[in-house]
């Protein structure tokens, strides 16, 4: 360990992440004095905005919590309100919603892997220089992202801020011809996924580990996206409505986001958490990719979240094709159930690209919102990022890393969580 190292790392408004956050590291005489992850995003107060609003309007408002995972937010509100008011959507609508989730996750993961994470591994400030130097890999990333957007656009009307996800089901069914074309586009993604895996295998992922508790949805039968039990790798399992016992929010002074905890000082959500809790439920092709990268539960290396996202892209493409095949056999004539407003309260939990997302809504007898609560994946990850930074700075010091290297590692760590900061300060 370098005894004489003194450094002040102060990353103001970290780049290549969604939203505004600062990293602060202080080292004196080779000793870590401070490692802090502070979110400085402006809060928007969605829980206040939603008060008094008609239930049917709520998903259109809450989708605006996040520009990247608007479909997840719409569906979390829809699930919460359907459970609160006893609404059952038709099975075809449930399939269409799952496809919409797949589209969003594929575009989000592709955006993160290629645009936000990769530049650190290849030593460029952004993806832009790679358009010249590595055009094939950039085109591969763009095709995967575009395929995700194509799913979202066909199923929900557009890529960001879904149009046709409504209480009771979906407002419009996709045409069969369009589903066929989407299926063909997804099949073309399979070689692109192989090329991405080959490229990712060349990246040197830091072998840092910190023992962590991981939380995700779990339902015994399928890789989870919409609803189910809440499961932690430390063995906690709870029912969906018990989300508060799973999150335990608190507000530290130095940040505008809340922090959460469960069995330890912090826990993690996201692709790695989902893989850690549901590895056996991935499609066989995705299990193979996980195996190729040595990703096996419980993986405690936060940098492996990048790989877990790749594994999920493989799962999503194959799963989406299977669901499209089923939808092609369905007349799609029952996609929306009629419903009446009533008083109730329930939680809707979905797996957004960055992890488990909870909306809890309470309605009055006219279906107006009395109370709303949203707990965002990045909110759940913020405390874990904060504690990881501390452990990572110590780990880097023990290995004699210089301040520039420590800063890069810290930035890469935060980016590995793919934080959605404006989302976390909603």
């Amino acid at each position: 360990m370098a005894k004489n190292i003194n450094c002040d790392i102060d990353v103001h408004h970290l780049t290549r992440v969604e939203g505004h956050g600062n990293i602060e590291i202080r080292i004196r005489d080779g000793k870590l004095e401070k490692a802090q992850w502070a979110v400085v995003e402006t809060p928007r107060f969605f829980e206040v905005m939603v008060k008094g609003m008609s239930a049917e309007r709520v998903p259109f408002l809450t989708s605006r919590i996040c520009g990247i995972c608007s479909i997840s937010h719409a569906l979390a509100s829809i699930r919460s309100l359907e459970r609160a008011m006893g609404i059952t959507p038709p099975p075809a609508a449930e399939k269409l919603r799952l496809l919409a989730m797949h589209g969003e996750t594929l575009q989000s993961h592709a955006l993160h892997i290629f645009f936000l994470a990769v530049p650190d591994f290849v030593g460029t400030p952004s993806v832009l220089p790679l358009i010249e130097s590595n055009p094939e890999i950039v085109q591969t990333g763009l095709r995967l992202k575009e395929a995700g957007n194509s799913i979202s656009a066909l199923i929900t009307g557009r890529c960001t801020h879904p149009v046709s996800l409504v209480l009771g089901g979906v407002s419009k069914a996709p045409g069969k011809k369009e589903l066929q074309a989407l299926r063909a586009q997804l099949l073309q993604c399979i070689p692109d996924l192989a090329a991405t895996a080959e490229f990712c295998a060349t990246l040197s992922i830091p072998d840092f580990e910190r023992e962590t508790e991981f939380v995700s949805l779990y339902n015994d039968s399928t890789y989870p996206y919409i609803g189910g039990d809440l499961l932690s790798t430390d063995g906690v399992r709870r029912e969906e409505n018990d989300y508060l016992a799973m999150t335990n929010e608190y507000s530290p002074e130095f940040t505008t986001t809340k922090f959460t905890r469960l069995s330890r000082e912090s826990f993690a959500a996201g692709a790695l958490a989902r893989c850690n809790n549901n590895a056996g439920l991935l499609r066989p092709e995705a299990q193979k990719t996980a195996g190729d990268f040595g990703l096996a539960p419980v993986c405690h290396n936060p940098f492996m979240n990048n790989i877990a996202q790749l594994v999920e892209c493989v799962h999503i493409v194959h799963d989406a094709v299977a669901h499209i095949d089923e939808l092609l056999e369905d007349p799609l004539d029952r996609i929306r159930s009629a419903w009446k407003p009533r008083a109730g309260a329930a939680t809707g939990a979905v797996e957004a690209p960055r992890g488990i997302l909870y909306h809890h809504m309470e309605t009055d007898e006219h279906g107006k919102i009395v109370k709303g609560d949203c707990i965002i994946p990045t909110t759940q990850n913020n405390a874990n990022i904060h504690h990881d930074l501390d452990a990572l700075a110590r780990w880097a010091l023990e290995r004699g890393k210089k301040d520039g290297e420590i800063q890069l590692l810290c930035e890469m760590l935060v980016r590995a969580y793919d934080p959605c900061i404006s989302c976390s300060v909603h």
């Binding site: 809060p43 928007r44 206040v48 605006r64 952004s126 832009l128 009307g157 960001t160 404006s422």
Partner: protein, 255 residues
């Protein structure tokens, strides 16, 4: 870079976000098939969401989001000073957007509701033109990438950008949709600026007016239609409020 045989400089551009979801910036990375060509038109000087390189010399500032904290005012004024052209894009920047729904509640009550005793800094939401001069606005929640491309290309090639004057109804009819009023829904398509290809009504959900008023609209006629059909004026008001786009018409009304 050539356009119609004329060469021109790449546009030096900065993209900045304030209180918002960053969904409009994300649209810039969509329409992937022509993305490398679009990027080739630009010299990206400052775009925190995609690049670690940050420079303060840019001709065009694209500004997303509304203003809800004192430090945002300072940052925005600084951007205004540096930019030759400032474009507000997205409904939050142009009108305040959904964030403005917070303004219906006293600030102290809002903080208490979400944060309890933990005091966070926030103020009533304002649109960008409340703080600095805006040269051009591109509305929408989110903006349409096609429209952003059209306007950026216009600026890059020295032609005058413009927005549609017609309402969403025109595009909705072109798409051969059944009018949502005839299906029992209150829709703001008749008073809202087109240019979105009627994406919501084509997906069979009513227009909530994210692009703001079209030119020469007949707002009283919409209220009258809603009343005559025995629909809820409260629901109409909830929709008019959604993006804070129609305050010129609704302010001063008694309900």
């Amino acid at each position: 870079m050539q356009h119609l045989g004329f060469s021109h400089q790449k546009l030096r551009i900065g993209s900045f976000d304030f209180t918002c979801c960053e969904g409009c910036q994300l649209q810039l990375a969509n329409r992937e098939s022509n993305l490398p060509d679009f990027l080739n038109l630009l010299d990206i000087r400052n775009f925190r969401e995609i690049s670690s390189e940050r420079h303060d010399d840019y001709d065009i500032a694209l500004v997303e989001g509304s203003i809800s904290r004192p430090d945002e005012i300072e940052r925005l004024q600084d951007i205004r000073k540096r930019a030759t052209v400032l474009i507000a894009y997205g409904s939050c920047a142009c009108f305040g957007g959904v964030n403005s729904l917070k303004n219906r509640f006293p600030i102290e009550e809002a903080i208490e509701e979400v944060y309890g005793d933990h005091k966070v800094e926030t103020m009533p939401v304002r649109k960008i033109s409340d703080i600095v001069k805006v040269d051009f606005s591109i509305p929408g929640c989110p903006v349409s990438k096609k429209e952003v491309e059209r306007i950026v290309v216009a600026v890059a090639t020295g032609s005058v950008p413009s927005l549609p004057a017609w309402p969403v109804c025109v595009e909705c009819k072109q798409n051969q949709n059944t009018c949502l009023f005839d299906l029992g829904e209150i829709c703001l398509g008749s008073i809202t600026m087109g240019g979105c290809d009627a994406v919501c009504t084509t997906g069979k959900t009513p227009c909530l007016g994210c692009r703001g008023p079209a030119e020469g609209i007949n707002y009283p006629a919409l209220r009258q239609l809603v009343s005559e059909r025995g629909m809820s004026l409260d629901e109409l008001d909830e929709k008019l409020r959604f993006y804070n786009c129609f305050t010129t018409f609704t302010d001063g009304e008694e309900h």
